[in-house]
Symmetry: C5
Subunit: 258 residues, 5 copies
């Protein structure tokens, strides 16, 4: 469908950049990423609110049970529409667990979906994404696509080529924002961002990192046209999440625009 | 969908706790669990009534054929929506055998569904659950999710981690009550209950046990915030089911609230 | 759905017993069971009429092409809704070949469906049955469930346990009448019938047998609460089918009621 | 559904016999069966017209692109609803490639469908056929079923038994006309035709044959109650197709009726 | 459905020939085919406009994000409805990623779909194509079918036979235009084009080639009745794409008509 002016992309972008707080790890990894504090979704909502993130990423269950708190925070809700545990081995597949309509009813400003390119189940995720993309755009919701190269099909292929393939797939399939794990090499990221054309690219924070490394990575990404960040563990596993948040925001909104 | 005030969770909770009589073993194990008395659903309904359980769990077939007796007992009916025999080996999958609408027509106050996380069929059950959850909430019915770690994906993973992963999956997927098999270690159960956030956790009674062991298990569970019990064989295989029922009720409703 | 008073179970029951003439072997085994006479459905309809059976079991194709003759016979039509050839090996699966609506249009008084418990395809048949059961009850049609233990899942399990599991599955899934192959041991059948609760159990005639053996089997079955018979080859392969039919009817309607 | 008087079977039958010109080989075998003349569908339509066949069998693509010529010929159009290439090996499966509604819109007087009994995919074709049969009858269109024994399930079974099983399956599933490859033995064909009950049986011409053999085969078939022929290569690969056509017509319409 | 006069085939044909600019390589191969210039869809649109192509082929994502530029170019948009990455190995399958309705809303003048004959997934693509073909014709949109022989089923079969089988499949399935990779032998292409009957055949440009070879290939193709070209890399990887475009146009529109 033709991209309407009413596509609410602006609601999850501030001065042309995005900064999302991701909290879908409970399903993806189990509670092993959590401690007594951050196991509680209310703690995460509090960080999102204080840190003025441009979006907060939850699975439907949390979006539903903590709906009141999310609404009170006024942080735009992004509902992740698919997911899986990390128990099942082999080429990954992550299936739809929430409809676009339901996400809308929960107050979502955008929806998210993960595709594992290279997995033998790639086609199943392509088709679910395709459906969701159409439905989301019909309702004026932007769709963020997590694209991670995984499985047998990725063997023997250079990381940088997989990263550029990821972002290109996002463009060709109609994502509005693509989330990737950067390889860490600036020039490669630049090419991946170029390959995405008009589709925006945000980088994942990934597992907890040395703060310096993280900030440098973000800085370089912003320099080559990255549209922002979707970060989770590095923030809510941090002892002082707001302090780090502020450091990152400085980098995001002070570098040259894409 | 946003959790409505009309979600009839209160109907299967008494003073913040639940106490369900489970009788889905006929399908899950065959009649080997039964004797001449308890093979008869009417005997089970009688126990539920005298014991004032907060819910009685049946498959559709029994809920339909014994509908009059169930209604007369005034015990809330919980229809289990999926099931399988124990004949087929390999990674388990349990498919939907009754619709939410049908359960509602049968007079159900809540519905139940089993997910085997770690099974290679995990995604199929996730998707069926997702659909049922939405439909149930639309009709104001709470959904109870049996979550059992099973199959290849669970190998080499610690029992306590699997238990906490189970309850977290329940929260992320939008269950209202999660039923798990406790590992028996209090501290582990506490973490699992915490991982479930606002979703309630009840423990399964499991196979017939020494009464002392059973009561201690329940006592400890209630101390760490457990929301109650879903028990079957330990009750209806007992020579004096009401006597044991009363002992358990004392424990459930006299311990500190979650 | 709640069992309505309008469920037309009484139409295929006479004085609390059923006596069905089965003729689905053409699809299940090919014409090898037939001779020049009984290969012709009109011959079967004639037997059913003269023998005053309480039901006549056909696949859709015969029910459609011989509809006039069936109606003229006034014997209640039972349309078998699934079927397969015996050519394909491995764990059996039998899929739906006629809708409930179509059966109704053909004048069916009841519908039938076969489930092979223990087959790796068990879940597929469970789900088709579930759908058919609901639709049939909505239209006031009773559903008869053939339940046969087959496939890898049945290995190493005692025949009597498989028989009792079969009837229990029929109850749990919501069948109105269950058709099983009896093991031949009276006490085992009694337990199987008990396990079926309020669901009726009829026994299959099976392959052609010595008449004495057959009659004794029926007699014993009726003594332990069996609700009747679904018989085929033993009748229509017999030189004098009406004579045998009358002998069986005597046994069915003269023994003590369930 | 009850066979209506309006079922247009008479439109593809002349004096109780059928004579169809088959031209679905382009999809089933590729153009290797063709030469410069018969590669052209217009040539085939011309033969059908001059030869006054009672039906002309095409896939949807040809039925659509040559619709004008087909209509002008006034030969009844039979649209073959499934098909496959011969490239893929293993147990065959042929899936639906045209809907009944579409066939009707193209002006079809009847529809056709191929089932490979004995293939591990038998059930898939049974279910597609079942659906098509119902839809076709609802629209008053007869359905012709190609039934060929193929795949693992047919190993070690006598050809004559497979042939009789084929025709019986056609009856049980509700076909109006069954097309089989005859074994060439008269007595076997007679039994197969008897096994089909009220369903008509036509024989395939098969690969190009010596004319004498072909005519003798047809003659014998008509003697044992065969309802006609569906022939392709033997006609349109012939140098003088009309001459052979006339010889066959003489045989078909001069032998004793079924 | 009967081919309507309203089928907009004329919109993508000029003086009986077609000349399409293909740009679906981003999804099919990743951005490895691209450089800093041609990675940008706007550059491609510019070439299409200046070169006056009769169609421009995009996936939905690009058709949506660059819709304004496409419309301004006035080059007819052809939306490719299926696609896959080249990461996953084994017999290929390419699934639908955009609906016909969506393509129409994006302003498409025609739609495209790829079938890999000989792949074990052939039937899946046949069925998706069948659906799309019907929907496209209902909306007056022509459908172009990429047909490439691939996978296990093609082993040991001559290239020329596979090519002719490809075009025949296109005719039988109802494509309006078939796109093939020519073998390079004129006489073989002539037979393939004949096998397609009334369905048009265009050839793919394939990977970048020596200009002389390319032009000779096109010249020969046009001589044997080819309906035109769908070319990508040879154009947009060329330093002077318009110069080459003009050379090709001369060949296409100066040779004898089909």
């Amino acid at each position: 469908m033709i991209l309407k002016k009413t596509l609410n992309l602006r609601k999850i972008i501030r001065k042309n950049k995005s900064f999302f707080l991701a909290y879908d790890q409970g399903l993806e990894h189990g509670p092993t990423d959590f401690n007594d504090k951050n196991v509680d979704p209310e703690y995460i909502i509090k960080i999102a609110k204080e840190g003025k993130f441009t979006g907060l990423i939850f699975q439907k269950g949390i979006a539903e049970k903590y709906n009141k708190q999310i609404k009170e925070s006024k942080i735009p809700l992004i509902v992740k529409l698919n997911g899986k545990t990390n128990l099942v081995k082999g080429d990954p597949v992550s299936k739809q667990l929430c409809t676009v309509e339901e996400a809308k009813e929960l107050g979502a400003t955008a929806v998210g979906y993960t595709i594992y390119i290279g997995s033998i189940h790639e086609e199943e995720m392509f088709q679910e994404f395709e459906n969701i993309q159409r439905q989301a755009h019909k309702k004026g919701l932007p769709i963020i696509c997590w694209i991670y190269p995984r499985g047998k099909g990725t063997k023997g292929i250079k990381e940088k080529d997989l990263m550029a393939y990821s972002t290109r797939v996002g463009l060709e399939l109609g994502a509005d924002i693509i989330k990737i794990h950067p390889t860490g090499i600036k020039r490669d990221l630049e090419w991946a961002i170029k390959s995405a054309g008009k589709t925006r690219v945000v980088i994942a924070g990934g597992g907890k990192k040395n703060e310096k490394t993280l900030l440098k990575e973000i800085e370089e990404a912003m320099e080559v046209g990255c549209s922002g960040l979707a970060i989770g563990r590095n923030i809510w596993q941090n002892k002082d999440p707001i302090k780090l948040t502020n450091k990152i925001k400085k980098i995001i909104w002070n570098k040259k625009k894409k």
